[in-house]
Structure formats: structure tokens, C-alpha cells
């Protein structure tokens, strides 16, 4: 170790500065090239950390003993929500079998033979007060004892009563709910 080291040092001392710098540069380039190849070389820019080899032909490819295989039940007819047919150029939709046990479906309904009645006041309004764009509540909120006061606080003006007066808002019977005297 010492002898070759002394020999190398002696040899280097015998070289002129230009020769020394040239050799140092060459060594640096060698190291950088080797390092660069290790980090960035290989197919597609992948690091070559381990020895690679070119892909084998299909005929050379062999399944290992670990291969497993199977076959599901006979194919169901394609279509409906599970249809995943696709072309070779665009990906078929990736659809999962989520929510596949949601419960028992409702019994199918027959075509209705009578109109589906909508309960009056469904929209929450008693249209027998004022214009139909006015919405006097079908029910006042819990705790409201003075409907007219509640309405006035919310900007309602006196309202013409169109027939019935469910909420008894026209106390003086003049046909105007929450008017003077109510």
C-alpha cells in the first residue's frame, strides 16, 4: 500500500502542472459519468439500481409456478348499469359494484288510475289571504299567539280574505285580515 502510494505520489510530482490538471480532470469526468449513468441512465430515464435486461419476446415469457387462475360464473348479458364495454382506444368506464346490497326493492307500482292528490297547504301557505304571491303560513310557528302581530313584524300588510279565515285574522269581519281593528 505504502509503496504504490509513494510511487504514485512520486510519479505525480514528476508531472508538470498541466499534466496533473489534465489527469485530475479526466478522473473527475470518469467519476461524474459513472455517477450520472447510475442515477439517470437506463430505459426511459429510470435509475439503474439493479442489473436490467431487455424485455423478452412473448414466446420466451413464462408464467411462474405462482400463477393462479379462475373463471367466474357464466357471463351475464351486457348492458344496464353494469355495462362496461369499451373500445381499444378509449378506456372503458371503471365502474365498481358499490351499493350492491341496498336492501329490498319496493314493489313495482302500476300505472296510476287516479290523480295523485296534493294536500292543501303543501307549500306552507294559506292562499286565502291576499294575493297568491303572499304566503300567510299554513301553520304559525310554535308559540305564536297573535298571528297579526307576527305578520306585521315581518312586513305583511293588511290582507284581503278570499273566503275562509282559518287563522281568525279578520276579527272584525270586514273582509280584511290584520286590518284596522284586527
Amino acid at each position: 500500500m505504502i509503496r504504490w502510494y509513494r510511487a504514485a505520489i512520486g510519479w505525480l510530482k514528476a508531472r508538470n502542472p498541466l499534466q496533473r490538471w489534465t489527469m485530475a480532470g479526466a478522473l473527475l469526468v470518469l467519476l461524474l459519468a459513472a455517477g450520472g449513468f447510475a442515477v439517470a441512465g437506463g430505459e426511459g430515464g429510470s435509475p439503474v439500481w439493479f442489473g436490467g435486461r431487455p424485455p423478452e419476446s412473448a414466446a420466451e415469457q413464462g408464467e411462474s409456478d405462482a400463477a393462479d387462475s379462475g373463471a367466474g360464473p357464466a357471463a351475464a348479458a351486457a348492458g344496464g348499469k353494469r355495462d362496461q364495454a369499451g373500445s381499444a382506444v378509449s378506456a372503458p368506464p371503471r365502474i365498481h359494484e358499490f351499493a350492491d346490497k341496498p336492501g329490498t326493492p319496493e314493489r313495482p307500482l302500476p300505472s296510476p288510475t287516479a290523480p295523485i292528490e296534493i294536500e292543501e297547504g303543501n307549500e306552507g301557505c294559506d292562499y286565502s289571504y291576499g294575493d297568491r304571491t303572499i304566503c300567510v303560513p299554513w301553520e304559525f310557528p310554535d308559540g305564536v299567539t297573535d298571528g297579526c302581530a307576527w305578520l306585521r313584524e315581518r312586513g305583511y300588510k293588511p290582507l284581503k280574505v278570499n273566503g275562509r279565515d282559518r287563522h281568525k285574522l279578520d276579527r272584525n269581519g270586514d273582509g280584511i285580515a290584520c286590518g284596522d281593528g284586527d
Binding site: 509503496r3 510511487a7 514528476a14 442515477v39 430505459e43 426511459g44 429510470s46 435509475p47 439500481w49 439493479f50 436490467g52 424485455p55 423478452e56 415469457q61 411462474s64 405462482a66 400463477a67 393462479d68 387462475s69 357464466a74 357471463a75 351486457a78 344496464g80 348499469k81 362496461q84 381499444a88 382506444v89 378509449s90 372503458p92 368506464p93 371503471r94 365502474i95 365498481h96 359494484e97 358499490f98 351499493a99 341496498p102 336492501g103 326493492p105 319496493e106 313495482p108 307500482l109 300505472s111 290523480p115 295523485i116 292528490e117 296534493i118 294536500e119 292543501e120 303543501n122 286565502s128 294575493d131 297568491r132 303572499i134 304566503c135 310557528p141 315581518r154 305583511y156 278570499n162 273566503g163
Partner: protein, 704 residues
């Protein structure tokens, strides 16, 4: 031995003495060892690769250690290893033939040793080398929840077919709360052969920049601005157009005076300059349904045929009419009538671009049980005998959310009165006609004008339903929220956190049980949900409260800035392409209408510079594709948000579609879902956002 040289002065050193050759060879050997050591150790990446046995070389019982064979469904398959490796001598190989359903894959083992350990909220770059004879290959993730165990999480990307080894790298979204491990692999879900090798996984979480906000409370609460002008029309219906403008439809605007005069109104509002363009409105489209078609035009169905009779004994009547509004011409074009009248119909675009419309009141003011089907390719509503009828009446504005397999989820959110009989929520399969109740919705008869949203991202298939009341009984509206995971085999709602409390007119605090109906919920580009507006009672007692729901933590960030304008009946809020939220409409029971416009800037707009999407390689996007964009600064997430088409707290088509990223500096590949049911065809707002949540201004892209 005489040292002649020294005796006679310096002598030339031989050029290649034995000692020198030996020394140089040792230097070379040492250098080679150093280089080999560097290479073999792969210090920078191998140490960061979280995948165990990433090259599949180590084997246990004849199969790569820490990997397993996995899959389900009906198909013929083989699965194992091959020597056709990218590196080393082992790769996995999966082959499918006779495909009907399901998938087959080689996945990491779900155990404490093999499954990579992760941290919730962080992001990871996943990479795999592969060959595939088919495009029916998807990078699939499962996650381990600390409390709920292992579960499917998402598919991040579709892998292009390739004869030669190719690398696919994709970044996960932020990991959901509770996630402590993930596993992943490539799923083959069609006929073909897939070979994979050399997996890697590395933490790619970007640290958020130091907060720079100097805008006071706006930094954490955001800020509202009431525009110095008012809407030209009553904004009862709002549709964001792919030119960045907003279609505001009033029809008669809930005014009998306008109705009697035959004065029906629509305007196109331009948020950029505050201008309104009036649109000739041929019929009373008040209380119609609406949805953007895949070409960006707006399909409008139904509307108001007549107001209730003066004594209220006969209610509103629905129109059979239907129109298509074209943003290019600002004109409505009449198309064929539907089978029946519909006042308050739903409108959901399907994965094939067709539209299903349900519910509402008919021309006789009775419930309409017809299923209406708009066939996009023929630009018409199908006749009754062309449509598979369920004959179920779905109520008014039933919120029908498209599921990933093409079924519709009725969320239970509706307008007026009690919920439907049964549990109040259900899954409707148009293809088979089956309707199945879904359990768990709390107080289903008190969800009148609640609002439901498909939580970000759409791939997660979770729905949040917020608030609601009952305008008929007029009880105090509630604070309930419910969340359902439609990925479960038997989905059921579970209770979510209550809506934070606000104040009533005059500043009085709500009591502990008081919530709100007429809720607006808006998907934001940072993947959160902004909820705003509402009222305690039927068309009365507005609630001033706004908060942001985080789908990752399932919690509310309460006490956001509140809209100074009451927003109850006939109000809506929706996302603008610049990342702000616009709110419009207020129609209390006294018959007035507030035409003021409010715009909310969320806290993310006060956190510093916005990233910019500097280029989008293509604006027409295909399913399963990878789309290229460039940005001007690092971003952590990209998404497509479907523009709003909202009325009466109902916008079933609103969705945030995750675009998993393949990142190379400022060049970003965006991996588009292969499933049109996740992102129905049409125009979308493309957003990116940085690590501090600050979103870009959207670019418009057309999907499908």
C-alpha cells in the same frame, strides 16, 4: 540494492512502474466499488420508497413477498408472476378473458408490515412500471382507517396500453382523516394482459407557505360584498354558463301581476362587468327544472302554467313545455313537450349525456308520476312508451344525484312539506326500474329545503345533506346533517356534525336546536363546502350563519362571514369561475323580493398570490385520458367543478371531480376519470390550488 538514482541525483520515474500500475488499479477498483455502492444503495430514492419488496424479487411461498392476488367479479383470469421484468427477474402478470364484471389485480398485502404507513392529509407520489395490452387498467388504492379498517379508496389513473415497459406516476389527493396505511396496485378490469414491476411510493407533500394575510378577519372568515347594483330580474333560477356568465331565470318571478301580464323574464348576468342582457322568455319558466347539456346549452323543463286559484283550493299547475337556452345566442328554442306538466321537477344529467327528470306537479296541479327522459342525441323528450316508467311520484324538486354506476340516489332533500313515505331516501335504478329505500336519514319529514351535495371528490361517492325544516307544519328548522357513503354494500346515512348556530334578525342567537332551511351549499375549489343562507321558518326569520365543511375531517369551520342580505326562500348561492361565491334571491312570505347580489370571497382569496394555469394543451377532454397543463407555481391539487344550475336549494349535478396529478415541475398531467358517471359530459371549471389552499381562476374545459 544500491539506490543509483538517489546517488546520482533525480532520475526520471518510469511511466508505468509495477507499483504505479498496482496503485492505479486499486484506485480504479475503489472508484468502481464506490460507484457500485452508490448505485446499489440508491440512497436518495430507495430510502424514500415506502413500498416493501418494490421490484417483487423477494418471494414467499412462490409469490412476491408483501404482495397478494386480489380481485372480484365474473371473468376468466390468470394471475401470477413472469420473468418479463422491468428490472430483476420477477414481475407480476394478470390476464383476463371472458370478462363480464369486476377486476383482477396484484396488490400490496393489507398488514402492518407490508402496507406502507402514511399520514392523513399528506400526499404521495405513486409510480409503477408496466406493460398492458388494454386500456382497461387503473391504478387502485385502498386505505386503512384507524377505526373502520381497510376500505376501497379510489382509482387514481387509467393506464394507457403499451407494448414496452412504461412508467406511470401519479400523486394521491390529500389522505382522508383517520388514514394510517394505504395499499395500491393496478387493476385490470377488461380483457387483456397486464404486467407490472418496480413500484415506488414517496411522500410528496408540499409545505404550505408562510401565511401572509393582512386582511384582518377576512383572513379566517372571508368577506362579503353587496354589489352596488341590483339584479335585473328575480334570480330564482341560476345557471353558470361556460362563458363565465350567469343565466338568471325568473319567469313571472312569483308575481301574479307579471303572470297576468304575460311578462316573463330572463337575464344573462356578467359578473365581470355587472351587466345584464335581457333574454326573450316565451313562457313562464318560474319553478322549472334546468341542467346544462353536454354541449353547454341549458335544458329547461316545465315551469308554471298557472298560480293557485284565489281561494287556494287548487294549487300551482305545471307546464309540459321545454326549451333549450343557447349561451352563444342568448335565445331559448322550444323543443317537444314532455309527457306531463312539471312544476318543481328535478333534472339530472346522466353519464351518457341524457337527462332524467322526476317529480313535480302536473297541468292539473296533481302529482306527476311520469319519468321524463331527454335523449341528448335526438334533442328531444322521449314519448311515454319509450321511457321505463316507475310510476312513483317523487315529490317536488327531489334531489337525484347520479351514482358511479348510473343509478340515482334520492337524497331525501326536497321542497315543501314532509318527505316521501318510507325512510325518505332511496336508490333508483332507471335501467331496471327498481327503487330501494336507504336508511338513516334523520327526521326525514323535516328536510324541506335542506340541501344535498355530492362531497368532494365525486370519486368518493359521499353525499352530505344539510338542514331543512317543514314549511307545512312550520316547526323550527333543524341543524341536522347526514352523510352517506355510497361505496358501501348497503349504504346508510350516518349523522354528521350539526350546522353551526347563527343569529336571527336583530342579532339574537339561535337556540341550541334551531337550524335552518333554504340552505345553500357550494363546492369550493379547495375541496371544501361552503354553506350559507337560510331561514328558521317558512319564508320567515332569516338565519345569518355561514360555515365551511371539510370532507376530509368531516367537521365544520364555523363562523364564516355572513351575507348581510337575508337569503331564504328563492335564494341560491353558487361558485363563480374566479373562486368567489355569488348569492342571489330572497322572497319572504310578505311577497317582496330582494334583488340585491352578494359576492363572497372565501378566506383562501386572502392568503397570497393565486396560482395561474398558464396553458391548457386541449380544451376537449376524453375520459380516461391524461391532460397536460402548465402552471406558474407549485400546486397540490386539481379538480373539475361542474358549474351550478341551482334553484330552491337543489343542484343535484354539482360535483367536484378529482384530477390526480402527474407532476413534473410546473408541467402537470391531469388524470381524468374513465367513468362518465363520476363526471357527466359537459363543460367544467378547471381549478388548481396551492399548498395554502389558494385556488387559481378557472379555465373552462369540455369533457366527453
Amino acid at each position: 540494492m544500491t539506490d543509483v538514482g538517489f546517488a546520482h541525483g533525480p532520475q526520471p520515474v518510469p511511466m508505468w512502474s509495477p507499483e504505479l500500475r498496482r496503485g492505479l488499479s486499486r484506485i480504479l477498483v475503489l472508484t468502481a466499488l464506490l460507484v457500485t455502492g452508490l448505485a446499489a444503495a440508491a440512497p436518495a430514492q430507495a430510502a424514500d420508497n415506502l413500498v416493501q419488496n418494490p421490484s417483487l424479487e423477494a418471494s414467499t411461498s412462490g409469490f412476491p413477498t408483501c404482495w397478494e392476488k386480489s380481485g372480484y367479479g365474473e371473468h376468466t383470469f390468470s394471475i401470477g408472476t413472469t420473468t418479463d421484468a422491468h428490472t430483476g427477474n420477477v414481475a407480476s402478470k394478470v390476464t383476463i378473458s371472458g370478462y363480464t364484471s369486476g377486476d383482477r389485480k396484484v396488490m400490496m398485502l393489507k398488514n402492518a408490515t407490508c402496507a406502507p404507513k402514511v399520514t392523513q392529509g399528506r400526499q404521495y407520489d405513486l409510480s409503477v412500471w408496466y406493460k398492458s395490452t388494454t386500456v382497461a387498467a387503473a391504478l387502485t388504492l385502498f386505505r386503512h382507517d384507524a377505526s373502520a379498517g381497510w376500505q376501497y379508496w379510489t382509482d387514481l389513473a387509467t393506464l394507457a396500453a403499451t407494448d414496452a415497459y412504461k412508467q406511470k406516476t401519479v400523486r394521491t389527493p390529500p389522505l382522508p382523516a383517520g388514514t394510517d396505511q394505504i395499499i395500491w396496485g393496478v387493476s385490470l378490469y377488461g380483457p387483456g394482459t397486464l404486467i407490472t414491476d418496480d413500484y415506488s411510493m414517496a411522500d410528496a407533500t408540499a409545505l404550505p407557505p408562510t401565511p401572509t394575510c393582512t386582511d384582518g378577519v377576512a383572513c379566517t372568515k372571508g368577506r362579503w360584498q353587496v354589489m352596488p347594483y341590483q339584479s335585473a330580474v328575480r334570480g330564482i333560477h341560476a345557471v353558470v354558463l361556460h362563458n363565465g356568465k350567469v343565466l338568471l331565470v325568473a319567469g313571472s318571478g312569483n308575481s301574479t301581476t307579471e303572470f297576468r301580464a304575460g311578462t316573463f323574464r330572463t337575464a344573462v348576468y356578467d359578473p365581470a362587468n355587472g351587466s345584464f342582457t335581457n333574454v326573450n322568455t316565451p313562457e313562464d319558466l318560474f319553478c322549472a327544472g334546468h341542467v346544462q347539456l353536454k354541449d353547454g346549452r341549458v335544458l329547461v323543463m316545465g315551469g308554471n302554467k298557472d298560480y293557485p286559484t284565489p281561494d287556494g283550493s287548487v294549487g300551482f299547475k305545471g307546464l309540459r313545455s321545454s326549451y333549450i337556452f343557447d349561451p352563444a345566442t342568448n335565445k331559448y328554442t322550444k323543443i317537444n313537450n314532455m309527457q306531463a306538466g312539471h312544476w318543481y321537477p328535478s333534472a339530472t344529467i346522466m353519464g351518457n349525456g341524457d337527462v332524467i327528470s322526476l317529480g313535480g306537479l302536473g297541468e292539473d296541479a296533481k302529482g306527476t308520476a311520469f319519468t321524463e327522459y331527454f335523449k341528448s342525441s335526438e334533442n328531444r323528450w322521449l314519448a311515454w312508451n319509450e321511457v321505463k316508467q316507475s310510476w312513483k311520484w317523487w315529490g317536488l324538486y327531489p334531489t337525484m344525484v347520479l351514482m358511479q354506476d348510473g343509478r340515482l340516489f334520492y337524497t331525501g332533500s326536497h321542497t315543501f312539506g314532509a318527505g316521501l313515505p318510507g325512510t325518505g331516501a332511496s336508490i333508483y335504478d332507471y335501467a331496471s326500474g327498481s327503487i330501494t329505500d336507504v336508511p338513516g336519514l334523520q327526521d326525514k319529514d323535516y328536510r324541506d329545503q335542506s340541501m344535498s351535495v355530492l362531497l368532494p371528490p365525486a370519486q368518493d361517492q359521499r353525499v352530505l345533506t344539510l338542514g331543512g325544516g317543514n314549511g307545512h307544519t312550520n316547526v323550527d328548522a333543524g341543524r341536522l346533517t347526514d352523510i352517506i357513503d355510497l361505496k358501501a354494500a348497503s349504504p346508510k346515512y350516518v349523522a354528521g356534525p350539526p350546522i353551526p348556530q347563527g343569529t336571527l334578525t336583530g342579532g339574537a342567537a339561535q337556540s341550541s336546536k334551531q337550524g335552518k332551511m333554504y340552505v345553500s351549499a357550494v363546492l369550493l375549489p379547495d375541496g371544501t363546502v361552503f354553506e350559507t343562507g337560510g331561514a328558521l321558518h317558512n319564508r320567515a326569520d332569516p338565519v345569518f350563519e355561514a360555515s365551511i365543511f371539510d370532507p376530509i375531517s368531516n367537521t365544520f369551520r364555523p363562523r364564516m362571514a355572513t351575507d348581510p342580505v337575508p337569503r331564504s326562500y328563492h335564494s341560491s348561492a353558487f361558485l363563480l369561475p374566479d373562486g368567489r361565491v355569488m348569492a342571489i334571491g330572497e322572497n319572504p312570505g310578505n311577497g317582496t323580493f330582494d334583488n340585491r347580489i352578494s359576492v363572497y370571497s372565501p378566506p383562501y382569496l386572502f392568503q397570497g398570490a393565486r396560482p395561474q394555469i398558464t396553458s391548457v394543451a386541449a380544451t376537449n377532454w376524453g375520459y380516461g385520458s391524461t391532460q397536460q397543463i402548465t402552471v406558474n407555481s407549485p400546486v397540490v391539487r386539481a379538480s373539475l367543478i361542474r358549474p351550478a344550475a341551482v334553484t330552491h336549494s337543489s343542484d343535484p349535478n354539482q360535483r367536484f371531480v378529482e384530477l390526480p396529478m402527474t407532476v413534473s415541475g410546473n408541467n402537470i398531467g391531469l388524470n381524468v376519470t374513465s367513468n362518465p358517471n363520476i363526471a357527466p359530459p359537459g363543460w367544467y371549471m378547471l381549478f388548481v390550488h396551492g399548498a395554502n389552499g389558494v385556488p387559481s381562476i378557472a379555465k373552462w374545459v369540455k369533457l366527453g
